[in-house]
Symmetry: C2
Subunit: 183 residues, 2 copies
């Protein structure tokens, strides 16, 4: 609903009054349901995190950490085809609207916390320790690079991109020698 306005008129050019009017509701009422205009775009982020959490927990302890991470992230980003257009609109808005890009940092922090907790458990460390933090940052960055690519290249497959990116991560120190051919 409001997403359509954003997609056509642009995020910045769409005021909260516009949205409220379009939904047929008072401006003040809008702010009862959304903490900010930005929050419209990231719908139910809690469920995304919950999916990630369960996907990570679903891997046995015998699977190496980075491999479990790859599986978890890929699996939690598996969407039924009919949801992909909506996802693309949202991710497009996020990646090329500065205000949203900035605001998203807050959501990402929560996402990273899930990964950090998982990594910490695996490493028998504290989530605040350096390595779990590095791993969570790296996982987020890798996922974001994949999403960014997906947004810019609609013909490519999101899952495949995530898979490729995370696999590259697992062999980072081996493949990235000078002179190595990029695939």
């Amino acid at each position: 609903m409001a997403l359509d306005l954003f997609a056509t008129r642009g995020f910045d050019a769409t005021t909260v009054d516009d949205i409220a009017a379009a939904v047929g509701v008072g401006r003040r009422t809008f702010f009862r349901y959304f903490d900010s205009k930005n929050d419209i775009v990231w719908g139910d982020f809690d469920s995304v995190m919950e999916r990630l959490r369960t996907a990570l927990a679903g891997r046995g302890a015998d699977v190496p950490l980075m491999e479990a991470l790859r599986h978890g992230v890929v699996e939690s980003n598996r969407y039924p085809p009919e949801q992909l257009p909506g996802l693309r609109i949202r991710m497009t808005l996020i990646t090329d609207t500065p205000a949203l890009e900035a605001h998203s940092a807050l959501r990402y922090a929560a996402w990273r916390a899930v990964v950090a907790e998982f990594a910490a458990a695996r490493l028998a460390a504290d989530p605040a320790d350096l390595m779990p933090q590095v791993i969570s940052q790296v996982a987020l960055g890798t996922a974001m690079a994949s999403f960014g690519r997906w947004v810019a290249h609609p013909e490519e497959d999101l899952e495949a991109l995530l898979e490729e990116a995370f696999r590259a991560l697992e062999v980072l120190d081996l493949s990235l020698v000078p002179g190595a051919r990029p695939r």
Copy 2:
């Protein structure tokens, strides 16, 4: 100057009028020198990026990519001791003021672009390709994890943290097997 106000009163509680008054300048004039209130905290970010760019370029092509990246990032974050207190104040503000955390995403994008360009050149790829993007995201995340740790633990050494984090990156797929002892 304005940083002191942020540090004592808090970022959100300090209005632009407060700052302008403290500096003895009109509100409108403030906005001639800073595009936004947020921009005060990230001083001359261009010089940071320039340092990174030259530090990366300074490594010979014979040094492996991830190693050159580590050297470049560590070197570009080598500050004279007298600048560390100021840096700590700024980074503390950034890491625990949501508004700044969000705004910083825009600066980070520029930083990543520098890394992506470097990585792309090394891989004979395009900066927009998946791998350069992954590498730039990973580098940023690793640096941020180090900074976050440094802010939370003032007794630890920033350079050492960066060094440790980036070294861990180079052996990610080797050390992070289940049962491996965290160091």
